[in-house]
Protein backbone atom coordinates (compact mmCIF):
# COMPACT_ATOMS: atom_id res chain seq x y z
CA UNK A 1 0.00 0.00 0.00
CA UNK A 2 2.91 2.35 0.84
CA UNK A 3 4.33 2.28 -2.69
CA UNK A 4 0.88 2.20 -4.31
CA UNK A 5 -0.48 5.23 -2.43
CA UNK A 6 2.67 7.30 -2.82
CA UNK A 7 2.81 6.64 -6.53
CA UNK A 8 -0.85 7.62 -6.93
CA UNK A 9 -0.16 10.81 -4.98
CA UNK A 10 2.88 11.71 -7.03
CA UNK A 11 1.51 10.76 -10.46
CA UNK A 12 -1.95 12.27 -9.97
CA UNK A 13 -2.75 13.20 -13.56
CA UNK A 14 -1.82 9.83 -15.00
CA UNK A 15 -3.84 7.91 -12.45
CA UNK A 16 -6.82 10.29 -12.44
CA UNK A 17 -7.12 9.68 -16.18
CA UNK A 18 -7.15 5.92 -15.63
CA UNK A 19 -9.68 6.31 -12.82
CA UNK A 20 -11.91 8.46 -15.06
CA UNK A 21 -11.83 5.77 -17.74
CA UNK A 22 -12.63 3.01 -15.26
CA UNK A 23 -15.35 5.18 -13.71
CA UNK A 24 -17.01 5.76 -17.09
CA UNK A 25 -16.86 2.07 -17.93
CA UNK A 26 -18.22 1.10 -14.51
CA UNK A 27 -20.93 3.75 -14.89
CA UNK A 28 -21.96 2.29 -18.23
CA UNK A 29 -22.05 -1.19 -16.74
CA UNK A 30 -24.15 -0.01 -13.77
CA UNK A 31 -26.59 1.81 -16.08
CA UNK A 32 -26.88 -1.19 -18.42
CA UNK A 33 -27.39 -3.49 -15.45
CA UNK A 34 -30.12 -1.29 -14.04
CA UNK A 35 -31.74 -1.08 -17.49
CA UNK A 36 -31.59 -4.87 -17.80
CA UNK A 37 -33.17 -5.22 -14.40
CA UNK A 38 -35.71 -2.50 -15.12
CA UNK A 39 -36.75 -3.96 -18.45
CA UNK A 40 -36.84 -7.49 -17.01
CA UNK A 41 -39.04 -6.15 -14.24
CA UNK A 42 -41.38 -4.49 -16.75
CA UNK A 43 -41.64 -7.81 -18.55
CA UNK A 44 -42.41 -9.89 -15.52
CA UNK A 45 -43.54 -7.61 -12.68
CA UNK A 46 -47.16 -8.72 -12.91
CA UNK A 47 -46.48 -12.44 -13.17
CA UNK A 48 -44.03 -12.42 -10.29
CA UNK A 49 -46.50 -10.29 -8.32
CA UNK A 50 -49.14 -13.03 -8.65
CA UNK A 51 -46.94 -15.33 -6.54
CA UNK A 52 -47.44 -18.30 -8.82
CA UNK A 53 -45.05 -21.16 -9.48
CA UNK A 54 -46.56 -23.08 -12.39
CA UNK A 55 -48.72 -22.41 -15.42
CA UNK A 56 -50.77 -24.61 -17.72
CA UNK A 57 -51.05 -23.43 -21.29
CA UNK A 58 -52.36 -24.78 -24.57
CA UNK A 59 -49.98 -27.58 -25.63
CA UNK A 60 -49.13 -26.04 -29.01
CA UNK A 61 -48.36 -22.61 -27.52
CA UNK A 62 -44.71 -23.48 -26.81
CA UNK A 63 -44.97 -21.95 -23.32
CA UNK A 64 -45.96 -18.60 -24.84
CA UNK A 65 -48.85 -17.11 -22.86
CA UNK A 66 -49.93 -14.87 -25.71
CA UNK A 67 -50.16 -17.82 -28.11
CA UNK A 68 -52.16 -19.96 -25.72
CA UNK A 69 -55.95 -20.24 -25.92
CA UNK A 70 -57.81 -22.54 -23.56
CA UNK A 71 -61.41 -23.57 -24.03
CA UNK A 72 -63.95 -22.80 -21.35
CA UNK A 73 -64.16 -26.51 -20.64
CA UNK A 74 -60.38 -26.80 -20.15
CA UNK A 75 -60.40 -23.78 -17.85
CA UNK A 76 -63.24 -25.24 -15.80
CA UNK A 77 -61.39 -28.57 -15.36
CA UNK A 78 -58.10 -26.87 -14.42
CA UNK A 79 -59.40 -24.33 -11.91
CA UNK A 80 -61.09 -26.63 -9.45
CA UNK A 81 -58.53 -25.95 -6.70
CA UNK A 82 -58.47 -22.69 -4.78
CA UNK A 83 -54.78 -22.15 -5.55
CA UNK A 84 -55.40 -22.02 -9.30
CA UNK A 85 -56.56 -19.04 -11.31
CA UNK A 86 -57.24 -18.32 -14.96
CA UNK A 87 -55.46 -15.51 -16.79
CA UNK A 88 -56.79 -14.24 -20.11
CA UNK A 89 -54.31 -12.01 -21.90
CA UNK A 90 -54.45 -9.85 -25.01
CA UNK A 91 -53.05 -6.58 -26.34
CA UNK A 92 -55.17 -3.45 -26.20
CA UNK A 93 -54.95 0.24 -26.88
CA UNK A 94 -56.63 2.41 -24.27
CA UNK A 95 -58.07 5.73 -25.29
CA UNK A 96 -60.27 8.52 -24.05
CA UNK A 97 -60.76 12.20 -24.77
CA UNK A 98 -58.10 14.23 -23.02
CA UNK A 99 -55.83 11.25 -22.31
CA UNK A 100 -53.05 9.71 -24.41
CA UNK A 101 -53.51 6.51 -26.35
CA UNK A 102 -51.57 3.81 -24.59
CA UNK A 103 -50.62 0.35 -25.78
CA UNK A 104 -51.32 -1.97 -22.92
CA UNK A 105 -51.83 -5.61 -22.00
CA UNK A 106 -55.32 -6.58 -21.00
CA UNK A 107 -55.49 -9.31 -18.40
CA UNK A 108 -58.88 -10.84 -17.73
CA UNK A 109 -59.31 -12.40 -14.31
CA UNK A 110 -62.00 -14.34 -12.53
CA UNK A 111 -62.87 -12.19 -9.51
CA UNK A 112 -63.54 -15.24 -7.36
CA UNK A 113 -60.03 -16.66 -7.91
CA UNK A 114 -56.86 -15.89 -5.93
CA UNK A 115 -55.07 -13.60 -8.43
CA UNK A 116 -58.01 -11.17 -8.49
CA UNK A 117 -58.58 -11.55 -4.76
CA UNK A 118 -54.96 -10.87 -3.85
CA UNK A 119 -54.49 -7.94 -6.24
CA UNK A 120 -53.02 -5.00 -4.29
CA UNK A 121 -54.94 -1.82 -5.03
CA UNK A 122 -53.06 1.46 -4.50
CA UNK A 123 -56.14 3.65 -5.00
CA UNK A 124 -59.83 2.98 -5.66
CA UNK A 125 -61.10 -0.59 -5.34
CA UNK A 126 -61.19 -3.91 -7.15
CA UNK A 127 -63.47 -4.44 -10.15
CA UNK A 128 -66.85 -6.00 -9.38
CA UNK A 129 -68.54 -5.94 -12.76
CA UNK A 130 -67.38 -6.58 -16.31
CA UNK A 131 -67.60 -2.87 -17.16
CA UNK A 132 -65.04 -1.96 -14.47
CA UNK A 133 -61.31 -2.08 -14.92
CA UNK A 134 -58.21 -1.71 -12.69
CA UNK A 135 -55.11 -0.18 -14.27
CA UNK A 136 -51.42 -0.04 -13.59
CA UNK A 137 -50.68 3.18 -11.73
CA UNK A 138 -48.36 4.39 -14.52
CA UNK A 139 -51.59 5.31 -16.40
CA UNK A 140 -52.03 8.10 -13.85
CA UNK A 141 -48.96 9.82 -15.31
CA UNK A 142 -50.77 9.88 -18.66
CA UNK A 143 -53.85 11.67 -17.30
CA UNK A 144 -56.00 8.61 -16.62
CA UNK A 145 -58.05 9.09 -13.47
CA UNK A 146 -60.34 7.13 -11.19
CA UNK A 147 -63.93 7.20 -12.41
CA UNK A 148 -62.91 8.01 -15.96
CA UNK A 149 -64.50 5.94 -18.72
CA UNK A 150 -62.17 4.64 -21.39
CA UNK A 151 -62.52 2.56 -24.49
CA UNK A 152 -60.34 -0.43 -25.30
CA UNK A 153 -59.31 -0.93 -28.96
CA UNK A 154 -62.10 0.03 -31.31
CA UNK A 155 -64.85 -1.18 -29.05
CA UNK A 156 -67.68 1.31 -28.58
CA UNK A 157 -68.15 0.06 -25.05
CA UNK A 158 -66.66 2.21 -22.30
CA UNK A 159 -65.01 0.78 -19.20
CA UNK A 160 -64.84 2.64 -15.90
CA UNK A 161 -61.49 2.94 -14.15
CA UNK A 162 -62.31 1.80 -10.67
CA UNK A 163 -58.83 1.29 -9.22
CA UNK A 164 -55.08 1.49 -9.75
CA UNK A 165 -52.48 -1.07 -8.84
CA UNK A 166 -48.71 -0.90 -8.67
CA UNK A 167 -46.12 -2.78 -10.75
CA UNK A 168 -48.72 -4.30 -13.04
CA UNK A 169 -46.63 -4.75 -16.16
CA UNK A 170 -46.35 -7.57 -18.62
CA UNK A 171 -44.14 -7.53 -21.69
CA UNK A 172 -43.07 -3.93 -21.02
CA UNK A 173 -46.69 -2.83 -21.29
CA UNK A 174 -48.87 -1.60 -18.44
CA UNK A 175 -51.73 -3.91 -17.52
CA UNK A 176 -55.45 -3.24 -17.64
CA UNK A 177 -57.15 -5.77 -15.38
CA UNK A 178 -60.74 -6.67 -16.27
CA UNK A 179 -63.06 -9.60 -16.50
CA UNK A 180 -62.92 -12.75 -18.60
CA UNK A 181 -66.04 -11.67 -20.52
CA UNK A 182 -64.34 -8.37 -21.46
CA UNK A 183 -61.36 -10.37 -22.75
CA UNK A 184 -63.77 -12.55 -24.77
CA UNK A 185 -65.30 -9.40 -26.25
CA UNK A 186 -61.95 -7.86 -27.04
CA UNK A 187 -60.75 -10.99 -28.81
CA UNK A 188 -64.20 -11.58 -30.36
CA UNK A 189 -64.04 -15.29 -29.60
CA UNK A 190 -67.29 -15.84 -27.79
CA UNK A 191 -67.79 -17.85 -24.67
CA UNK A 192 -66.32 -21.11 -25.94
CA UNK A 193 -62.87 -19.95 -24.89
CA UNK A 194 -62.15 -19.31 -21.22
CA UNK A 195 -58.63 -17.86 -21.01
CA UNK A 196 -54.97 -17.95 -22.02
CA UNK A 197 -53.54 -19.97 -19.17
CA UNK A 198 -54.07 -21.34 -15.72
CA UNK A 199 -51.62 -20.41 -13.00
CA UNK A 200 -51.07 -22.22 -9.73
CA UNK A 201 -49.31 -21.42 -6.48
CA UNK A 202 -48.09 -25.02 -6.35
CA UNK A 203 -44.75 -25.98 -7.86
CA UNK A 204 -46.00 -29.49 -8.69
CA UNK A 205 -49.19 -28.47 -10.48
CA UNK A 206 -49.68 -30.75 -13.48
CA UNK A 207 -52.36 -31.31 -16.06
CA UNK A 208 -54.09 -34.33 -17.51
CA UNK A 209 -56.46 -32.23 -19.57
CA UNK A 210 -56.16 -32.90 -23.29
CA UNK A 211 -54.12 -30.40 -25.37
CA UNK A 212 -52.68 -28.65 -22.34
CA UNK A 213 -49.22 -28.70 -20.84
CA UNK A 214 -47.76 -27.53 -17.53
CA UNK A 215 -44.73 -25.22 -17.50
CA UNK A 216 -42.66 -23.76 -14.75
CA UNK A 217 -42.92 -20.02 -14.21
CA UNK A 218 -39.35 -19.61 -15.49
CA UNK A 219 -40.21 -21.38 -18.77
CA UNK A 220 -43.22 -19.13 -19.28
CA UNK A 221 -41.25 -15.97 -18.45
CA UNK A 222 -38.43 -16.95 -20.82
CA UNK A 223 -40.97 -17.33 -23.61
CA UNK A 224 -42.38 -13.84 -23.15
CA UNK A 225 -41.82 -12.13 -26.54
CA UNK A 226 -38.33 -10.60 -26.70
CA UNK A 227 -37.54 -11.31 -23.04
CA UNK A 228 -34.66 -13.78 -23.49
CA UNK A 229 -33.05 -12.04 -26.47
CA UNK A 230 -33.24 -8.70 -24.66
CA UNK A 231 -31.61 -10.12 -21.56
CA UNK A 232 -28.96 -11.86 -23.62
CA UNK A 233 -28.14 -8.68 -25.54
CA UNK A 234 -27.66 -6.74 -22.32
CA UNK A 235 -25.66 -9.55 -20.73
CA UNK A 236 -23.32 -9.59 -23.73
CA UNK A 237 -22.87 -5.82 -23.55
CA UNK A 238 -22.13 -5.97 -19.82
CA UNK A 239 -19.74 -8.89 -20.35
CA UNK A 240 -17.86 -7.07 -23.12
CA UNK A 241 -17.60 -3.92 -21.02
CA UNK A 242 -16.14 -5.98 -18.18
CA UNK A 243 -13.59 -7.48 -20.55
CA UNK A 244 -12.75 -3.98 -21.84
CA UNK A 245 -12.16 -2.78 -18.27
CA UNK A 246 -9.93 -5.79 -17.68
CA UNK A 247 -7.93 -4.92 -20.80
CA UNK A 248 -7.65 -1.26 -19.73
CA UNK A 249 -6.33 -2.20 -16.28
CA UNK A 250 -3.97 -4.78 -17.77
CA UNK A 251 -2.59 -2.48 -20.50
CA UNK A 252 -2.12 0.54 -18.23
CA UNK A 253 -0.50 -1.46 -15.45
CA UNK A 254 1.66 -3.24 -18.03
CA UNK A 255 2.96 0.06 -19.45
CA UNK A 256 3.43 1.62 -16.02
CA UNK A 257 5.20 -1.48 -14.69
CA UNK A 258 7.40 -1.60 -17.78
CA UNK A 259 8.54 1.95 -16.99
CA UNK A 260 9.24 1.02 -13.39
CA UNK A 261 11.07 -2.25 -14.06
CA UNK A 262 14.59 -0.77 -13.71
CA UNK A 263 13.62 0.57 -10.27
CA UNK A 264 12.09 -2.74 -9.34
CA UNK A 265 15.25 -4.48 -10.52
CA UNK A 266 17.38 -2.31 -8.21
CA UNK A 267 14.96 -2.88 -5.32
CA UNK A 268 15.15 -6.64 -5.96
CA UNK A 269 18.97 -6.35 -5.97
CA UNK A 270 18.73 -4.68 -2.59
CA UNK A 271 16.75 -7.62 -1.32
CA UNK A 272 13.25 -6.14 -1.43
CA UNK A 273 11.10 -9.29 -1.74
CA UNK A 274 9.14 -9.64 -4.98
CA UNK A 275 6.04 -10.24 -2.83
CA UNK A 276 6.30 -6.67 -1.51
CA UNK A 277 6.40 -5.25 -5.04
CA UNK A 278 3.64 -7.58 -6.24
CA UNK A 279 1.40 -6.54 -3.36
CA UNK A 280 2.07 -2.89 -4.26
CA UNK A 281 0.96 -3.52 -7.87
CA UNK A 282 -2.15 -5.43 -6.80
CA UNK A 283 -2.97 -2.69 -4.29
CA UNK A 284 -2.53 -0.08 -7.02
CA UNK A 285 -4.89 -1.95 -9.32
CA UNK A 286 -7.47 -2.32 -6.55
CA UNK A 287 -7.18 1.34 -5.52
CA UNK A 288 -7.71 2.44 -9.14
CA UNK A 289 -10.77 0.22 -9.52
CA UNK A 290 -12.25 1.15 -6.12
CA UNK A 291 -11.88 4.88 -6.86
CA UNK A 292 -13.36 4.25 -10.32
CA UNK A 293 -16.31 2.40 -8.79
CA UNK A 294 -16.92 5.11 -6.18
CA UNK A 295 -16.95 7.79 -8.91
CA UNK A 296 -19.25 5.60 -11.04
CA UNK A 297 -21.67 5.06 -8.14
CA UNK A 298 -21.84 8.81 -7.51
CA UNK A 299 -22.64 9.33 -11.20
CA UNK A 300 -25.26 6.57 -11.05
CA UNK A 301 -26.90 8.20 -8.00
CA UNK A 302 -27.05 11.54 -9.85
CA UNK A 303 -28.45 9.80 -12.93
CA UNK A 304 -31.09 8.01 -10.86
CA UNK A 305 -32.25 11.35 -9.46
CA UNK A 306 -32.30 13.05 -12.85
CA UNK A 307 -33.78 10.20 -14.90
CA UNK A 308 -37.47 10.54 -15.94
CA UNK A 309 -39.80 7.99 -14.33
CA UNK A 310 -40.62 6.50 -17.76
CA UNK A 311 -37.08 5.14 -18.20
CA UNK A 312 -37.21 1.54 -17.04
CA UNK A 313 -34.22 1.54 -14.70
CA UNK A 314 -34.15 -0.43 -11.49
CA UNK A 315 -31.29 0.01 -9.05
CA UNK A 316 -30.64 -2.95 -6.84
CA UNK A 317 -28.12 -2.92 -4.01
CA UNK A 318 -27.29 -6.62 -4.28
CA UNK A 319 -26.73 -6.46 -8.02
CA UNK A 320 -24.65 -3.28 -7.66
CA UNK A 321 -22.49 -5.05 -5.09
CA UNK A 322 -22.17 -8.08 -7.40
CA UNK A 323 -21.14 -5.89 -10.38
CA UNK A 324 -18.64 -4.03 -8.15
CA UNK A 325 -17.20 -7.34 -6.95
CA UNK A 326 -16.92 -8.54 -10.56
CA UNK A 327 -15.09 -5.31 -11.50
CA UNK A 328 -12.68 -5.77 -8.60
CA UNK A 329 -12.00 -9.33 -9.77
CA UNK A 330 -11.31 -7.88 -13.26
CA UNK A 331 -8.82 -5.47 -11.67
CA UNK A 332 -7.03 -8.34 -9.95
CA UNK A 333 -6.92 -10.38 -13.17
CA UNK A 334 -5.73 -7.27 -15.05
CA UNK A 335 -2.80 -6.97 -12.64
CA UNK A 336 -1.61 -10.54 -13.25
CA UNK A 337 0.59 -9.76 -16.28
CA UNK A 338 2.46 -6.92 -14.52
CA UNK A 339 2.76 -9.14 -11.45
CA UNK A 340 4.41 -11.82 -13.59
CA UNK A 341 6.82 -9.20 -14.97
CA UNK A 342 7.80 -8.15 -11.46
CA UNK A 343 8.27 -11.74 -10.33
CA UNK A 344 10.60 -12.35 -13.27
CA UNK A 345 12.57 -9.08 -13.19
CA UNK A 346 16.33 -9.70 -13.22
CA UNK A 347 18.41 -7.14 -11.27
CA UNK A 348 21.41 -7.97 -13.47
CA UNK A 349 19.54 -6.46 -16.44
CA UNK A 350 19.94 -3.02 -14.82
CA UNK A 351 23.34 -3.41 -13.20
CA UNK A 352 24.88 -5.13 -16.19
CA UNK A 353 27.40 -7.93 -16.13
Amino acid sequence: MFLAFNELKQEKLRYIMIIIMLALLSYLIFILTSLTLGLANENTAAITGWNVKTGVLEKSSDANLRQSLLTADQVKKLTKDSDTAVVAETSVVTKDKGASKISATFVGLNKSQFIAKELQITSGRKAKTSSEIVMDDSFQNKDYKLGQKVSLNDSSKKYKIIGFTHDAKLNIAPIVYGSISTWQNLREIGTNFGGSGIFSKKADFTTSVKNTKAYTLKEIINKLPGYSSQNMTFSFMIGFLMIISLVIVAVFLYIITLQKLPNYAVLRAQGVPSGFLIRATLAQSLILMIFGLIAALILVAITALAMPADVPMTFNLGLTAAVSAAMIIMAIIGALIPVRMIAKVDPVSVIGG
Binding site: L3, N6, A265, V266, G271, I351, G353
Partner: protein, 223 residues
Protein backbone atom coordinates in the same frame (compact mmCIF):
# COMPACT_ATOMS: atom_id res chain seq x y z
CA UNK B 1 30.36 -8.27 10.81
CA UNK B 2 30.89 -10.62 7.88
CA UNK B 3 33.72 -10.93 5.44
CA UNK B 4 33.30 -11.85 1.79
CA UNK B 5 35.33 -14.45 -0.04
CA UNK B 6 35.21 -15.44 -3.71
CA UNK B 7 37.05 -18.68 -4.58
CA UNK B 8 38.10 -19.76 -8.06
CA UNK B 9 35.26 -17.96 -9.80
CA UNK B 10 34.78 -18.62 -13.50
CA UNK B 11 32.07 -17.01 -15.52
CA UNK B 12 31.36 -17.39 -19.21
CA UNK B 13 28.90 -15.57 -21.45
CA UNK B 14 27.65 -16.75 -24.83
CA UNK B 15 28.02 -20.12 -26.46
CA UNK B 16 30.30 -21.94 -28.90
CA UNK B 17 32.31 -19.55 -31.06
CA UNK B 18 30.97 -16.43 -29.30
CA UNK B 19 31.74 -17.79 -25.82
CA UNK B 20 33.60 -15.24 -23.69
CA UNK B 21 35.46 -16.08 -20.49
CA UNK B 22 34.58 -13.03 -18.40
CA UNK B 23 36.04 -13.96 -15.01
CA UNK B 24 39.03 -16.27 -15.03
CA UNK B 25 39.57 -18.37 -11.92
CA UNK B 26 39.14 -15.25 -9.81
CA UNK B 27 39.75 -15.41 -6.08
CA UNK B 28 39.24 -12.50 -3.74
CA UNK B 29 38.45 -11.70 -0.14
CA UNK B 30 37.67 -8.60 1.87
CA UNK B 31 37.38 -8.34 5.64
CA UNK B 32 35.30 -6.12 7.91
CA UNK B 33 36.98 -2.76 8.34
CA UNK B 34 38.38 -2.80 4.81
CA UNK B 35 37.57 -0.58 1.90
CA UNK B 36 38.59 -2.30 -1.31
CA UNK B 37 38.68 -0.71 -4.74
CA UNK B 38 38.37 -2.78 -7.91
CA UNK B 39 39.61 -0.72 -10.81
CA UNK B 40 39.25 -1.68 -14.40
CA UNK B 41 38.21 -0.41 -17.81
CA UNK B 42 34.77 -0.90 -19.30
CA UNK B 43 34.14 -4.52 -20.25
CA UNK B 44 36.76 -5.87 -17.87
CA UNK B 45 34.15 -7.79 -15.87
CA UNK B 46 33.70 -5.35 -12.97
CA UNK B 47 29.90 -5.47 -12.98
CA UNK B 48 29.90 -9.26 -13.38
CA UNK B 49 32.24 -9.46 -10.38
CA UNK B 50 29.87 -7.26 -8.38
CA UNK B 51 26.71 -9.17 -9.30
CA UNK B 52 28.34 -12.50 -8.47
CA UNK B 53 29.64 -11.14 -5.16
CA UNK B 54 26.12 -9.92 -4.35
CA UNK B 55 24.46 -13.22 -5.26
CA UNK B 56 22.60 -11.74 -8.22
CA UNK B 57 24.38 -14.06 -10.65
CA UNK B 58 25.70 -17.56 -10.19
CA UNK B 59 29.24 -18.31 -11.34
CA UNK B 60 29.80 -21.23 -13.72
CA UNK B 61 32.27 -22.57 -11.18
CA UNK B 62 33.66 -21.49 -7.85
CA UNK B 63 32.01 -20.31 -4.65
CA UNK B 64 31.07 -17.09 -2.90
CA UNK B 65 31.08 -16.96 0.90
CA UNK B 66 29.45 -14.31 3.04
CA UNK B 67 30.83 -15.26 6.43
CA UNK B 68 30.42 -19.04 6.45
CA UNK B 69 27.46 -19.13 4.09
CA UNK B 70 28.08 -20.24 0.50
CA UNK B 71 25.89 -18.00 -1.65
CA UNK B 72 26.06 -20.34 -4.63
CA UNK B 73 24.29 -23.04 -2.63
CA UNK B 74 21.42 -20.88 -1.32
CA UNK B 75 17.88 -20.77 -2.73
CA UNK B 76 16.78 -17.53 -4.38
CA UNK B 77 14.66 -16.69 -1.35
CA UNK B 78 17.58 -17.15 1.03
CA UNK B 79 19.81 -15.05 -1.24
CA UNK B 80 17.13 -12.34 -1.21
CA UNK B 81 17.05 -12.42 2.60
CA UNK B 82 20.83 -12.26 2.73
CA UNK B 83 20.92 -9.26 0.38
CA UNK B 84 18.26 -7.51 2.43
CA UNK B 85 20.04 -8.07 5.74
CA UNK B 86 23.73 -8.14 4.98
CA UNK B 87 24.49 -6.59 1.59
CA UNK B 88 23.95 -3.04 0.44
CA UNK B 89 24.11 -2.06 -3.22
CA UNK B 90 24.98 1.40 -4.45
CA UNK B 91 24.43 1.57 -8.18
CA UNK B 92 24.93 4.14 -10.93
CA UNK B 93 21.28 4.67 -11.85
CA UNK B 94 17.70 3.84 -10.89
CA UNK B 95 18.72 3.76 -7.22
CA UNK B 96 15.82 5.86 -6.04
CA UNK B 97 12.12 5.12 -6.39
CA UNK B 98 10.92 8.10 -8.47
CA UNK B 99 7.63 8.65 -6.66
CA UNK B 100 9.07 8.64 -3.13
CA UNK B 101 10.75 11.60 -1.44
CA UNK B 102 14.28 11.04 -0.15
CA UNK B 103 12.89 10.54 3.36
CA UNK B 104 10.31 8.06 2.07
CA UNK B 105 13.14 6.04 0.49
CA UNK B 106 14.29 5.35 4.05
CA UNK B 107 10.69 4.63 5.15
CA UNK B 108 10.61 2.02 2.41
CA UNK B 109 13.63 0.31 3.95
CA UNK B 110 11.85 0.39 7.33
CA UNK B 111 8.81 -1.29 5.80
CA UNK B 112 10.75 -4.03 4.08
CA UNK B 113 13.38 -4.58 6.74
CA UNK B 114 11.69 -3.96 10.04
CA UNK B 115 14.68 -4.46 12.34
CA UNK B 116 18.34 -3.55 12.73
CA UNK B 117 18.42 -0.54 10.48
CA UNK B 118 21.05 2.08 11.26
CA UNK B 119 20.48 3.76 14.67
CA UNK B 120 18.90 7.21 14.27
CA UNK B 121 21.86 9.10 15.80
CA UNK B 122 24.37 7.34 13.58
CA UNK B 123 22.19 7.90 10.55
CA UNK B 124 21.85 11.62 11.34
CA UNK B 125 25.62 11.83 11.07
CA UNK B 126 25.43 10.14 7.64
CA UNK B 127 22.77 12.63 6.58
CA UNK B 128 24.98 15.48 7.74
CA UNK B 129 28.07 14.11 6.07
CA UNK B 130 26.28 13.52 2.78
CA UNK B 131 24.53 16.89 3.10
CA UNK B 132 21.12 15.47 2.25
CA UNK B 133 19.23 17.19 5.10
CA UNK B 134 17.90 19.96 2.83
CA UNK B 135 16.64 17.48 0.22
CA UNK B 136 14.89 14.99 2.51
CA UNK B 137 11.42 16.09 1.38
CA UNK B 138 12.27 16.33 -2.30
CA UNK B 139 11.45 13.88 -5.08
CA UNK B 140 14.30 12.40 -7.16
CA UNK B 141 13.25 14.23 -10.35
CA UNK B 142 13.96 17.56 -8.65
CA UNK B 143 17.50 16.56 -7.58
CA UNK B 144 20.81 16.92 -9.39
CA UNK B 145 22.79 13.80 -10.34
CA UNK B 146 25.09 14.27 -7.36
CA UNK B 147 22.22 14.74 -4.92
CA UNK B 148 20.54 11.60 -6.23
CA UNK B 149 23.73 9.60 -5.80
CA UNK B 150 24.27 10.86 -2.26
CA UNK B 151 20.65 10.02 -1.37
CA UNK B 152 21.14 6.54 -2.83
CA UNK B 153 24.29 6.04 -0.77
CA UNK B 154 22.41 7.14 2.36
CA UNK B 155 19.57 4.74 1.63
CA UNK B 156 21.97 1.88 1.15
CA UNK B 157 23.72 2.69 4.43
CA UNK B 158 20.42 3.09 6.29
CA UNK B 159 19.75 -0.65 5.92
CA UNK B 160 22.96 -1.07 7.96
CA UNK B 161 24.45 -3.87 5.86
CA UNK B 162 27.71 -5.64 6.79
CA UNK B 163 28.93 -5.50 3.21
CA UNK B 164 28.50 -2.64 0.78
CA UNK B 165 28.92 -3.28 -2.94
CA UNK B 166 29.18 -0.06 -4.88
CA UNK B 167 29.14 0.27 -8.66
CA UNK B 168 30.69 3.60 -9.74
CA UNK B 169 29.28 5.47 -6.70
CA UNK B 170 31.11 8.69 -7.59
CA UNK B 171 30.36 8.70 -11.31
CA UNK B 172 28.25 11.87 -11.20
CA UNK B 173 29.98 13.70 -8.35
CA UNK B 174 32.36 16.63 -8.41
CA UNK B 175 35.80 16.48 -6.74
CA UNK B 176 34.53 17.89 -3.44
CA UNK B 177 31.74 15.34 -3.22
CA UNK B 178 34.05 12.52 -4.26
CA UNK B 179 36.20 13.35 -1.24
CA UNK B 180 33.15 13.40 1.02
CA UNK B 181 31.74 10.13 -0.29
CA UNK B 182 35.18 8.49 -0.28
CA UNK B 183 35.72 9.69 3.28
CA UNK B 184 32.31 8.45 4.35
CA UNK B 185 32.83 4.98 2.86
CA UNK B 186 36.26 4.84 4.48
CA UNK B 187 34.76 5.87 7.87
CA UNK B 188 32.08 3.22 7.55
CA UNK B 189 34.75 0.62 6.94
CA UNK B 190 37.07 1.76 9.67
CA UNK B 191 34.66 2.99 12.36
CA UNK B 192 31.76 0.60 11.88
CA UNK B 193 33.71 -2.41 10.60
CA UNK B 194 31.82 -2.60 7.32
CA UNK B 195 33.24 -4.43 4.34
CA UNK B 196 33.21 -1.98 1.43
CA UNK B 197 33.87 -3.06 -2.15
CA UNK B 198 33.81 -0.37 -4.82
CA UNK B 199 34.10 -1.18 -8.53
CA UNK B 200 35.01 1.92 -10.43
CA UNK B 201 37.37 3.55 -12.85
CA UNK B 202 37.40 6.73 -10.75
CA UNK B 203 41.00 6.90 -9.51
CA UNK B 204 40.04 9.87 -7.31
CA UNK B 205 38.91 7.24 -4.79
CA UNK B 206 42.35 5.62 -4.57
CA UNK B 207 43.35 7.67 -1.51
CA UNK B 208 40.51 6.22 0.53
CA UNK B 209 41.05 2.55 -0.26
CA UNK B 210 42.83 0.05 1.97
CA UNK B 211 43.44 -2.28 -0.96
CA UNK B 212 43.26 -1.64 -4.69
CA UNK B 213 42.80 -4.41 -7.23
CA UNK B 214 42.92 -4.22 -10.98
CA UNK B 215 40.55 -6.29 -13.04
CA UNK B 216 41.83 -6.75 -16.56
CA UNK B 217 40.39 -9.15 -19.08
CA UNK B 218 38.83 -11.26 -16.30
CA UNK B 219 41.99 -11.50 -14.22
CA UNK B 220 42.20 -9.85 -10.81
CA UNK B 221 45.48 -8.72 -9.36
CA UNK B 222 46.47 -6.57 -6.42
CA UNK B 223 47.83 -3.18 -7.39
Amino acid sequence: MENITLRNINKYFGQDISRVHVLKDLSFSADPGEMVLILGPSGSGKSTFLTIAGGLQTPDSGSVFIGNEDLTKLSNKKKEELRLNKIGFILQAYNLVPYLTVKQQFDLVDRVKKTANMPREEFNQVIQKLDIGPILNKYPDTLSGGQKQRAAIARSLYANPDIILADEPTASLDAKRVKEVGGLLQDLAHQYQKTIIVVTHDIRLNDFADKIYHLDDGLLHLA
